[in-house]
Amino acid sequence: MISDDLYRELIDLMGYMLTSARGLLDEPQAYGPFRLVEGISRLCELLEKEDVADSTFLSRLRARIDESKFSVISDPDTFTQMLDEVVLDYAKKLKER
């Protein structure tokens, strides 16, 4: 059973994802990866508050995303490098499971 607060925040995240999906049909292509990592960052933040076992991994993932997410247009190489790193970190975490 999840708490009322978490439920509400997940519903809010759903709103972000839904309106992102609609907006991206008309928006610049680079906004797509940005919206996805922003969504992951917000999801990490929600899960971190729930005292889950992977909170260190989640906070590291969120910090790395937040550090570079705004470079998506101004510095695409930095954004790509960030994505490559977090995907590899994620894969390592998945392998441990």
């Binding site: 709103g15 972000y16 309106t19 992102s20 609609r22 907006g23 919206r35 101004s74």
Partner: protein, 175 residues
């Protein structure tokens, strides 16, 4: 404040402190908006100023371009009824120009009063209209998030090569 200082100093600020904005200050911004140029004096617009934190939050939920919460959001809307009555074919386009000019007035006045702003188009217009209780002919066009700045973005480079004199492609130097 000198106009030049406001034009050159204004930045898109997306992160704000929690300090609330006085209603009379927000009213100054809205007044600046209605004093902007408007084609044929149609004034095909409506400005909805949202300060209730719960409603600001709900606006943010349907606005992917709004990364953090803020004290106030001004929704600049076009009035399609006024726009189409005044100019059936061009009304929609002209109303967009008018809303954009009003938004710039609002943002410059905000900077003048020590506030930061950012104009946002990445939001769901239908969802915003529903949340704000606006009728069908009132179309949310732009959101201006307003607050006391918690960041000082650097000025991005400006391209002077788009300026021509007398004819396209002809460069010259200002005297």
């Amino acid at each position: 404040m000198e106009l030049e200082k406001a034009i050159l100093g204004r930045r898109s600020v997306r992160k704000f402190t929690a300090k609330p904005i006085e209603k009379k200050v927000l009213n100054e911004l809205l007044t600046a908006g209605i004093w902007s140029p408007t084609a044929g004096n149609i004034q095909p617009w409506a400005f909805i100023c949202v300060t209730d934190p719960e409603m600001v939050h709900k606006i943010r939920v349907v606005s992917p371009g709004m990364f953090w919460s803020t004290s106030a959001v001004i929704c600049v809307c076009s009035d399609q009824e006024k726009a189409s009555k005044a100019a059936a074919k061009e009304g929609k386009t002209l109303s967009l120009f008018d809303c954009a000019m009003a938004a710039q007035n609002i943002m410059l006045r905000a900077y003048d009063l020590g506030l930061g702003t950012c104009v946002i188009r990445s939001f769901n217009q239908a969802a915003a209209r529903e949340l704000l209780g606006a009728p069908e002919h009132i179309q949310p066009e732009l959101l201006i998030i307003v607050g006391y700045s918690d960041q000082a973005p650097k000025a991005p480079r400006r391209n002077m090569e788009v300026i021509f004199w007398e004819a396209y492609g002809q460069r010259g130097e200002a005297e």
